[in-house]
Structure formats: structure tokens, C-alpha cells
């Protein structure tokens, strides 16, 4: 569980980091592209400037000073490499240029002046901006790479979308879980509160009924009535306990306290507890632990597993008010350990399964056999096992099967 949480946290950090990188890159690109076009304001519209420079037969006339602005300068280099016309040309800009000079400054800078060039019939028009005002970078790229750019953009786009969706999913799920938890807590607090409030009055009902039951001054019929009140209060108490536990198991509020235990000893203790608790004479209880099952051990929550067995035995008592034979059996079925409680049928119970085995739970999760058996089912499941019911007429068998990995012989 801790490793899974660690993995989840690492995934969350990685997705966030990736998302930040992608968004930063996208932002940077947008900034660059926006300012590249905005940067053209820093250069002059060279076509118009060129059109404003006209040869009038004996010299050049220039009418585009406004287009150039105050900071820029311009010159026209003739076909022979000599400057034939210039306006505000700085002193450190030469008067003559070789082929290599031109090749160099058309790409980069001319004596650190950022320049624009325009080819004319009579030479090359060069427009210069002040030093340090424009950054120039020559870019060239293979066509194959250029064609891959849309793919890369699509990849990054979907990656970013994936990250966003993933993060949104995680946050939403967390939010839903928190909301769910709030609801669960409210519900469990309510059940806890109700069960708490029932316990104190029930103490008095049980206590006084028990006192009346044992009062030799009362006629036997009255004492028997008091005994019925006491027994029914105990049934309510068991119901409250089952409700509480079933809810805690439902909402995973009951951590399993697993320890290695011998189911043989557990089965005997549960049976002894049932008898010690006052099992009436019309019920018989037999414990069947074959010698080979004596040394089997399970990793289980002793209290819960015993509770499951007690519930199964009490179920037999409750559904057979005229008495029955109850058998608790421990068996090894292949690699599984089976804890069985038979009622009414006894040890010679029919092995044939009924035509339609009743399910332990209804489709809506409620229990057709009451909370007691739902709890048994939950306890079996919490231990990674399962619970089966076989019912044939008056014979009822509940079987808890715990998985092979937990049984050691």
C-alpha cells in the first residue's frame, strides 16, 4: 500500500513537472514568435524605403526619411562595391565593399550595426539600425526536420493534454473520495451513536430481567417471562454489535489484527463459549476436528473469525427454536481450510447441494439471512476467503473457506 502511494506520488510529480516544461516551452515559443513580428517595427519597411530612393539622372533623391525614422541610416552600394549614396551613414561604416564583406553583413552585422538589405537594379540598399538595438540570428533547417515540426507539436500538445487530464482525474478522484469519506464518517458516527445510546437502556432491561429471572420469590411462569425478556435483549445486543461491526467492515474502519492461530483451538473455544453462554438442553453441539487438521495454522484475526463462527452457531439456534443438533467442523479441502457449522442435519447431513443454492447477499448487498450471516461473509472476504451456504430443507450448512496460502500443515 505504501509502495503504491509512493508510486502515485512519483507519477504526480512527474506529470506536474512535464506539464510545467511543456507549458514553459509553449510560452517561450509564443513570446519569441510574437516579438519577432513585433521586432519588425524596429526595422524599416525596406521595400518602401527603396522605392523612395530614385535616380534622377545626375544624382539620387530620397523622400523616405520618415520611413527611416531618426535613428536609422541608409546607403546604396553600387554594382562595383562603392557606396554611391548614403544618408546619416556613420563614420565607421566603410565606403567600399568586397564580395565577402557583403556576404558577411547581409547575414549578420555591419561593423556591429544590425542591417537590412534590399537588392535593386542599381546595387544593394543597406538600411542600418543603431548598434545593440536588434538581435539577429540566422536560422536554417533540413527540410525533413521542418516537416517533423507539426508531428512534434502534435506530440507535445497531446502530452500536455494527457498531463492535464491525468492531474484533473487525480484531483477529482481525491475530492470525490474525501466527499465519500465525509459521508461514510457521518453514517458511521450515526450508527455508533445509536448503538451507544441503545446500550445503556439495554443494560437495565437485561439486568433487571435477569434479576427477576433468578428471583426465587416469583412464580416460575413469571421467571420464564423474565428469561424471555433477557434472551431477547441479548438478541438485540448481538444485533447492535453485528450492525456496528458490519458497518466498520463495510467502510474499512476495522483493521484486521492478524496473527498465526490454530483454527482447531478456535473452533473448540467458540463451541465452549456457546455452551458456557448457556446453550439450552434441547440443542446438542458436536465438535469435529480430524487429527490432520489439528496442526493447521492460519494467519487471521482471531476475534473476527471467532465472531463468524459464533454467528453461524447462533444462526442455527435462532432458526430452530425447538432445538437441533449443531456440528462445528474443521476440514481441509485441498489447499483450503474449511470451517463449517451444520445445524439440524448433524454429522450425517446430506452432501447433495440444493438445486438452487441461495446467495449470501441480495443483489443490493442486503442479507436475506440477516445481518449475522452478512457479517460472516464480510469476515471471510476480509481474510481473502469466501463463505458458502448450503440449505436443504431444515438442514443448514455455513462454510467459511480460507485460501490455501494461509494454511500450513
Amino acid at each position: 500500500m505504501r509502495a503504491r502511494n509512493g508510486l502515485k506520488a512519483a507519477g504526480l510529480v512527474a506529470a506536474s513537472a512535464l506539464l510545467i516544461v511543456v507549458l514553459t516551452a509553449a510560452g517561450l515559443l509564443a513570446f519569441i514568435f510574437y516579438n519577432m513580428s513585433a521586432g519588425r517595427d524596429w526595422t524599416a519597411p525596406s521595400e518602401k524605403v527603396s522605392a523612395a530612393l530614385i535616380w534622377s539622372g545626375n544624382g539620387y533623391t530620397f523622400t523616405g526619411e520618415e520611413l527611416l525614422g531618426e535613428q536609422r541610416w541608409a546607403m546604396l552600394i553600387g554594382l562595383d562595391g562603392q557606396v554611391v549614396w548614403s544618408l546619416r551613414k556613420p563614420a565607421d561604416v566603410p565606403e567600399a565593399y568586397s564580395l565577402t564583406d557583403v556576404a558577411s553583413f547581409t547575414r549578420w552585422y555591419l561593423n556591429d550595426y544590425p542591417v537590412q538589405c534590399r537588392v535593386r537594379d542599381d546595387g544593394l540598399l543597406v538600411i542600418g539600425s543603431p548598434k545593440g538595438s536588434v538581435w539577429k540570428h540566422d536560422m536554417s533547417m533540413g527540410m525533413d526536420v521542418l516537416l517533423q515540426i507539426p508531428l512534434w507539436f502534435a506530440f507535445l500538445f497531446f502530452l500536455a493534454i494527457g498531463c492535464v487530464l491525468g492531474l484533473a482525474f487525480l484531483f477529482l478522484r481525491k475530492w470525490f473520495r474525501q466527499a465519500q469519506q465525509v459521508r461514510d464518517t457521518a453514517r458511521s458516527n450515526w450508527v455508533n451513536g445509536v448503538s451507544h445510546d441503545i446500550r445503556t437502556p439495554l443494560s437495565m432491561v437485561m439486568g433487571y430481567a435477569n434479576q427477576l429471572e433468578e428471583d426465587p420469590a416469583l412464580p416460575p411462569a413469571r421467571r420464564e417471562q423474565a428469561a424471555i425478556i433477557r434472551r431477547q435483549s441479548q438478541t438485540i445486543r448481538d444485533l447492535v454489535n453485528d450492525l456496528n461491526l458490519t458497518m466498520r467492515l463495510d467502510y474499512e474502519m476495522q483493521p484486521l489484527r492478524r496473527a498465526r492461530l490454530r483454527p482447531a483451538a478456535l473452533v473448540r473455544q467458540a463451541a465452549a463459549d456457546l455452551i458456557n453462554g448457556g446453550l439450552e438442553d434441547r440443542y446438542s453441539l458436536e465438535v469435529d476436528v480430524p487429527p490432520e487438521a489439528e496442526e493447521v495454522t492460519l494467519l487471521a484475526d482471531e476475534g473476527l473469525l471467532k465472531r463468524a463462527l459464533m454467528n453461524l452457531m447462533n444462526n442455527g439456534v435462532r432458526h430452530n427454536p425447538d432445538g437441533c443438533a449443531i456440528t462445528v467442523r474443521l476440514a481441509l479441502q485441498g489447499a483450503e481450510c474449511a470451517l463449517e457449522v451444520d445445524s439440524a442435519g448433524g454429522p450425517g447431513a446430506p452432501e447433495t447441494p440444493p438445486t438452487a443454492p441461495p446467495s449470501v447477499l441480495n443483489e443490493d448487498g442486503s442479507a436475506p439471512h440477516g445481518t449475522g450471516l452478512k457479517l460472516v461473509e464480510q469476515i471471510a472476504r476480509a481474510h481473502g476467503g469466501r463463505f458458502e451456504i448450503v440449505q436443504n430443507g431444515a438442514h443448514f450448512r455455513g462454510r467459511i473457506l480460507l485460501p490455501a496460502g494461509q494454511a500450513q500443515i
Binding site: 455508533n192 448503538s195 451507544h196 445510546d197 446500550r199 445503556t200 439495554l202 443494560s203 437495565m204 432491561v205 437485561m206 439486568g207 433487571y208 435477569n210 434479576q211 433477557r230 435483549s233 441479548q234 445486543r237 454489535n241 456496528n244 466498520r248 476495522q254 489484527r257 490454530r262 482447531a264 483451538a265 473448540r268 473455544q269 463451541a271 465452549a272 455452551i275 458456557n276 458436536e286 465438535v287 469435529d288 476436528v289 489439528e294 496442526e295 476475534g303
Partner: protein, 232 residues
């Protein structure tokens, strides 16, 4: 002078206090009642009870924080009597050093037995607890001997432990596993036969007719039971 043991009962529910008080008085205890933490502190200081039955939820505090306070003025045994049955509450109570944790609702007999067990553990048995009567035989715990009309025999250490375990749960079945655990300090497998040998020898010492025991009874498949006098 009143030699009865004095029990302080702390619970905010007057009806419940009245019922438990009548139970305790009926069982031979003197009862002090307190409805909240303040009254409990006062009663503790004034009358030094022999044991405290303490509710967890009280109007002016909770029983969990009251326990260390009560213990400061003397090492008195405390039993929680609580309507909270979650394992967490139970473990918290016992973790604080409470001697027992009884969940409401409870049967009167259960409360009396568990309180008696705690008092015996802390203060030793009442005089009548020093001996165990099994028909014509009397077991003296102090000396580990059994007196019968035909003479006196001594119990071995294992027989003594076995009989004590059964006597502490008299009337109830004690499983063979619980007996083995009491005799050999832990769950032992394969000791059942040895246990049967000890049981047979014990029967020879306490039963009039060991092959037809009246007191130390076998419960087939489960364990043994020491029958109560009226059941024997």
C-alpha cells in the same frame, strides 16, 4: 467494623447506577456513587474505594483521562463499564492500565464475576476462596493439598495449575487448548495425551470414584469442566 469491599461506581445515568448499585450491594459490596468526574475525585479522596467501576463518557470529562488521575492518589483497580464497544476504545482503556473493560449491556452475573476476579487478583482471595470444596474433598490453595475423609494428598505443580484454571472458570468448559496454554505457557500441539494423564491423576486425588467423576468432567471433543456443587 464494616469489612465489605468498597466499590466506587462512576456513571452519569442514575437509573443504571441504581441497578448496578443494587447488584453490588446484593453481592456483598459497599457502593459509593458518583455521577461525574468531580464527584468521582471527591469520593476517591474521601473514602478510598477498593475498586472503581468507571464509565467512559461523563458529563464533565471522560473516563480515559480520569483514570490516571484516580491512580495518582492510590493504585486502585479500575474496570471500565462502557457503551463503546469498538476495539479501539477497548484497547485504549486496557492500554491505560485498566484491569478490565466491560461493554454495556452486560449480564449482572458477568459484572459480579469479573469484578470479583479483579479484586481477587489485586487483593488476594476472600477467606472462603482459600479452599475449594468438591463434595467430601477440600482443596487448600495455600498448601496445595487435598483433604479427604481417608487422608491428605498433595497436588503436583501441574495438577495445581490445572485445577486452579478449572476452578477459576468453575461451571464453564475450559478447552484443552486453554488448559495446555495454562500448563505449558503457550499453545502446544500434541500435549493432549499428557494433559489426559494429568487429568486422570487429578481425578484420583479429588474424586471419590475417579472412573465415574462427579466434578472434573470431560466434555468430549472440547475440554473439561469443573462442575459446580449444585450440578455435581
Amino acid at each position: 467494623m464494616d469489612m465489605r469491599q468498597r466499590i466506587l461506581l462512576v456513571d452519569d445515568e442514575p437509573e443504571l447506577r441504581r441497578m448496578v448499585a443494587s447488584l453490588l450491594t446484593g453481592a456483598g459490596y459497599e457502593v459509593l456513587e458518583a455521577a461525574d468526574c468531580a464527584q468521582a475525585r471527591a469520593a476517591m479522596a474521601a473514602r478510598r474505594p477498593d475498586a472503581v467501576l468507571l464509565d467512559v463518557m461523563l458529563p464533565d470529562g471522560d473516563g480515559f483521562s480520569l483514570l490516571p488521575e484516580l491512580r495518582r492518589s492510590g493504585d486502585v483497580p479500575v474496570l471500565y463499564l462502557s457503551a463503546r464497544d469498538e476495539n479501539a476504545a477497548r484497547l485504549q482503556g486496557l492500554g491505560l492500565g485498566a484491569d478490565d473493560y466491560i461493554t454495556k449491556p452486560f449480564l449482572p452475573q458477568e459484572l459480579i464475576l469479573r469484578l470479583g476476579a479483579v479484586l481477587r487478583r489485586v487483593y488476594g482471595g476472600r477467606p472462603e476462596d482459600d479452599a475449594l470444596t468438591l463434595g467430601p474433598a477440600t482443596v487448600h490453595w495455600g498448601t496445595g493439598t487435598v483433604t479427604r475423609p481417608e487422608g491428605e494428598v498433595s497436588l503436583t505443580a501441574k495438577e495445581f495449575a490445572l485445577l486452579k484454571k478449572l476452578a477459576d472458570n468453575r461451571g464453564n468448559i475450559v478447552t484443552i487448548d486453554a488448559l495446555c496454554a495454562a500448563l505449558w505457557d503457550g499453545p502446544m500441539v500434541g500435549y493432549e495425551n499428557t494433559l489426559m494423564v494429568h487429568i486422570r491423576r487429578l481425578r484420583e486425588k479429588i474424586e471419590a470414584d475417579p472412573s465415574h467423576p462427579r466434578y472434573l468432567l470431560t466434555v468430549r471433543g472440547l475440554g473439561y469442566r469443573l462442575a459446580r456443587e449444585e450440578q455435581a
